[in-house]
Symmetry: D2
Subunit: 115 residues, 4 copies
Amino acid sequence: MDMEKIKTIIKEFSTNRNWEEFHNPKNLSMALSVEASELVEIFQWLTLEQAQNLSSDKKEHAKQEIADIAIYLIRMCMKLDINLEEAIFEKMKLNEKKYPLVDEKGNKIEYGKKQ
Amino acid sequence: MDMEKIKTIIKEFSTNRNWEEFHNPKNLSMALSVEASELVEIFQWLTLEQAQNLSSDKKEHAKQEIADIAIYLIRMCMKLDINLEEAIFEKMKLNEKKYPLVDEKGNKIEYGKKQ
Amino acid sequence: MDMEKIKTIIKEFSTNRNWEEFHNPKNLSMALSVEASELVEIFQWLTLEQAQNLSSDKKEHAKQEIADIAIYLIRMCMKLDINLEEAIFEKMKLNEKKYPLVDEKGNKIEYGKKQ
Amino acid sequence: MDMEKIKTIIKEFSTNRNWEEFHNPKNLSMALSVEASELVEIFQWLTLEQAQNLSSDKKEHAKQEIADIAIYLIRMCMKLDINLEEAIFEKMKLNEKKYPLVDEKGNKIEYGKKQ
C-alpha cells in the first residue's frame, strides 16, 4: 500500500478546505468511532450467515465505510506522528505474547484467553 | 506499507489459534468499534490542547489502540475480499465530489458541508 | 423509576469529586459511547443463541455496563436540560410515523424500512 | 419516569411490526452503540465551549439521539430481565467504592483515578 501517496492526498484534501484546525486528535478519535459505527450499522440486524454473504450493494457500502475508517486512522497517525506499519508489527508481536499458543501447562489456549 | 506481509502475519496468528470461526464480518465490525472506543477513551476527558500534547505514555497507548483498529480493519478486508488501498483511493475521489472546494455560487464551502 | 433521586445521587457524586468541569457534553458523549462499546464487547464473539443465554457472570457484567450507559445518559440530560421521559415519548411518536405498520400500498413494512 | 408505560409502548411498537426476532441482545448492543455514535457525531467538530452552547436545532437533534439510546437500553433490559433503576443504584454504590473521596493517605483523588 502506497502510504506516502495516500498521506499526500489526504493532507491536500484537508488543507485545501482549511479543515486542519478541526483535525485535533480528540476530534479525530470521535470521527473514527462514528465511522466504525457506520460499519456496525450494516451488520446490526443480520445473522452471522447473512453477514458472510453480503449483497453487492451492501458490500460496496461496507467498502466505503472501511475506507472512511482507514482515512481517519491515517489522519490520526499523521497528527500523532505514528508510523502505522511499525505500530502494526509491534502490536502483533505483543499479541503473540499476550495470547500464546499454549498456556504454562501446555494446554491449548481458549479463544480470547489472555496469559 | 507491506500489506501482503501484514496479511500473512494476521492470517497465521488467527489460524494457529483456531480463531477463524470467530472472525465473521458481523463480529469483526463489533471488535473494530470496541477498539475505536478504546482510542476514544484516551481522549475523553482531555481538552483539545491536551489532546495535541500527549505524554509519551499516552502516545504509546494510542499507538497500540491504533494498531488494534488497523488489524481488525485489515482482517475485515480479508474476509470481505476488499482491496484497502483501492477502497481509500475510490473514497477520496467520492469525497472530492461530495465536498467540492466551492459551491455552485462560487463560495467557499463551510466545514463538513456536503454538496 | 425515581429520576429525581437518581439525578441527586449522580450530581452529588460528581460534585463531591470536583468532576463537574470534566462533564462537558462533548466529553460525556465520548464517555457514553465508550460505555456502549463495553456492552458490545460482552457480545462480540457470541452467537445469537449464546447471546440469549448469558451465564450469570456475563449477565451481571452486562447489568453493570447498562447502568454505566444510563448514568452518562442521565448526566447528559442534566447538562443539556433535557427531560428524558418526555424525549422518549416524543421519539416513539416520531417512530410511529417513520415506520408505519403498512406502506402507502397497504403492504406490511419490511424490517427497518423507513417511509 | 413511568418505566412500565415506556416498556409497554416499546413492546407494542416492536410486536406490531414483527421485529421481536431481530431484538437479540447481541444485535441490540450493536444498535445501541450505533445510536451512541450518532450522539457523538453532533459534538465531534465542536469546541468544548460550543458543545456547552448548542443551537436549538442541534439540541433538538441531541434530544432525539438521547431518546434512541434510552429506547434501545430499555429494550435490552427487557430482553435480559434487568431492572434498570436497581442496576443504577447498585452501580452508583460500586462507584462510591471504586472512586473514594480520599485515598488511603487521605489525599483527594485525582479525576478518574480508581482505588
